[in-house]
């Protein structure tokens, strides 16, 4: 009940801010998009795995949105998002089937390699993919409404907020579910899992597909908010940012990813605005400091406090 109240409070504040400061809309949309993707990474972190290639799923769905958008101009934005996400789910299922055989560095490496293949292909086959400049996405209708930029972004923001809350709730539920717990068990003792008659691969595969779909979702929303998709969306540094955010937020709770993302986006924005030209330095330092003091991220901090207060899990 109380949490519900605070949810609505959070929503009201976010939307309110966007109304009060129009320029905030985009940063908010972006950070929530990043949050969704980072949440995907968090799912993998639960299993003790890390991927330096998950930006590819954001990229895949982004390009699908662009392609379909050009092919069928009249198509509604929501449908585009759905299709884009679907595409990355399918990709996740196929690629996942291979990569769940690997662990730790090799898992990360293989994802990295596959994403780099996609990245280079997108940049190379200019005629089809628009090369490194990517593809424009013309602003579609949303639920049948023809919108100009401003209302469109408001609508998009509302949509993203709703999706994010749904994602937090759903993923949190998954974490507490039996296969979510089995996923976490992969991290501590995969052998035992097998000796309980459970297929660790299948469990990890489920998690992988979930994480891919989250990244995909973020990708199509991201693409729509930008009106543009580029191969950069799938470059390994982007995947690295997702991991960065996931670590920043911590794997303790699904909401961490979003806290991390909002922090990250504004850190980066102000670093770029204030110490323009050395924002990477600032972020890098922050990353290291965070890992040093909060290896479990912000949610880790929360849980620690919770334990101190003695609240039950």
């Amino acid at each position: 009940m109380r949490s519900l109240l605070l949810n609505t409070a959070a929503v009201v504040v976010i939307i309110g801010l966007a109304m009060a400061f129009p320029w905030l809309k985009l940063p908010l949309i972006l950070s929530l998009c990043y949050g969704l993707a980072a949440l995907g990474i968090v799912v993998l972190l639960k299993a003790g795995q890390i991927s330096f290639g998950h930006a590819m799923y954001a990229c895949i769905s982004g390009y699908v949105v662009a392609f379909v958008g050009h092919r069928f101009p009249g198509m509604d934005g929501v449908l585009l998002i759905a299709l884009g996400t679907l595409a990355s789910v399918v990709a996740g299922m196929l690629i996942g089937a291979f990569v769940v055989r690997y662990r730790e560095i090799f898992f990360g490496m293989l994802n990295l390699a596959i994403s780099m293949v996609l990245f280079t292909v997108l940049g190379k086959f200019y005629a089809v993919t628009g090369g490194t400049d990517g593809l424009r996405i013309n602003r579609p209708t949303l639920l049948g409404f023809e919108l100009t930029r401003d209302p469109f972004e408001i609508a998009l923001l509302v949509l993203v907020v709703a999706i994010s809350l749904a994602a937090i709730w759903g993923v949190q539920r998954y974490f507490l579910s039996s296969s979510g717990q089995a996923l976490a068990a992969i991290k501590t003792n995969e052998t035992r899992l097998e000796y309980l008659g459970v297929s660790a691969k299948k469990v990890l595969w489920k998690g992988y597909v979930l994480s891919a779909s989250l990244c995909g979702l973020s990708g199509s929303l991201f693409g729509l908010s930008q009106g543009l998709v580029t191969p950069e969306m799938g470059y390994w540094l982007r995947s690295g940012e997702f991991v960065f955010i996931a670590i920043l937020g911590g794997a303790g709770h699904a909401v961490g990813a979003f806290v991390g993302a909002i922090l990250y986006e504004f850190l980066k924005m102000y670093a770029a605005a204030l110490v323009s030209g050395s924002w990477q330095l600032v972020l890098g330092a922050i990353l290291i400091v965070i890992i040093y003091f909060l290896p479990k991220g912000i949610t880790g901090l929360m849980n620690r406090r919770k334990r101190l207060i003695g609240g039950a899990a």
Partner: protein, 300 residues
């Protein structure tokens, strides 16, 4: 013609493969011993290049002998390698026996910092010193003119480093200790090997190798912001395909990737860039542990 193309492509791939090998070697060497995948290795490549170039501009102006120029390149690389290697080592020491994923991310953070430092120090204008290349002259094969620097020197240097490292590992006490640590840290430390010292040494050697790659690249390529980021993924591709910690493997894989690239330029330019990663994916799918790693039984 096709035979000529074959030969030309071979020759073209050599120097690139050589540079790739040096960088990848540093990466795989560090991983082999301290089990850290050092993302900041790309920055070492960049700094090595810039360092060597500035040293050349500072001291080498007007020096006529190729030997002198080469010495400058190498000294630059070694200096950079020792400094940055030490910095990284001291940093990572703070994160000993943390989750390897976190250690990897620390190097990622270091990478971001280095990227900006590099821009602050050397600015954004392309940077180079080409004296050594001109000093070494050119030679002609099949009607094509090659720089001796690229054709002979770089590949030669890469091979030299390879054999030197092999010799160091197999026939010096320090080298054997390093190997012992790679095989089993616990046992090695139990045998009284100072793992810390070994780790430090490894890090510096690895760093110097990365910097050397950059230094040897600097006479033929322009140093610009962002060269580190590209190099690191490429050397990841080499190292992962070869198998982490595999030195000879890295040599062969670097050659494979270097050549595949130049063959593509002749036969299918569209695929030039994607080749290294394609190779990496295929190799990892076929042999998860990399081409040259011997599989060991997983222990419960």
């Amino acid at each position: 013609m096709s035979r000529d193309i074959f030969i030309l492509a071979m020759l073209d791939g050599m120097s690139y493969a050589g540079l790739l090998f040096l960088v990848a070697l540093g990466l795989t060497f560090i991983f082999g011993v301290v089990r850290i995948l050092n993302v900041a290795h790309g920055s070492l490549y960049a700094f090595g290049g810039y360092g060597a170039a500035s040293l050349g501009l500072w001291l080498g102006q007007g020096s006529e002998s190729a030997v002198a120029s080469v010495l400058l390149l190498v000294t630059g690389a070694i200096a950079v390698g020792i400094v940055l290697g030490t910095v990284l080592m001291l940093l990572l020491r703070q994160f000993q026996d943390r989750d390897p994923i976190l250690q990897l991310l620390v190097t990622f953070g270091a990478f971001m910092i280095f990227e900006d430092l590099q821009r602050m120090i050397w600015g954004t204008q392309p940077y180079f010193v080409a004296d050594v290349v001109n000093q070494m002259g050119t030679s002609e094969l099949l009607g094509v003119v090659y720089m001796n620097y690229q054709l002979l020197f770089v590949p030669g240097a890469a091979l030299a480093v390879y054999f030197l490292l092999k010799w160091f590992l197999n026939s010096t006490l320090m080298g054997r200790q390093i190997i012992a640590v790679t095989h089993d840290r616990e046992v090695a430390t139990a045998l009284g090997i100072n793992a810390r010292r070994i780790a430090y040494l490894t890090f510096v050697v690895g760093a110097v190798l990365g910097a050397l790659g950059g230094a040897l690249a600097s006479p033929t390529t322009s140093l610009v912001p962002g060269i580190g980021a590209d190099m690191i993924v490429l050397s990841f591709a080499v190292v992962a395909s070869a198998g982490l910690g595999q030195i000879t493997g890295a040599l062969i894989t670097a050659l494979l990737i270097g050549l595949s690239r130049s063959f593509c330029v002749y036969l299918a330019p569209e695929f030039e860039v994607v080749m290294p990663y394609l190779i990496m994916v295929l190799v990892l799918l076929a042999r998860p542990q990399g081409l040259f790693t011997v599989v060991q039984a997983r222990k419960i």
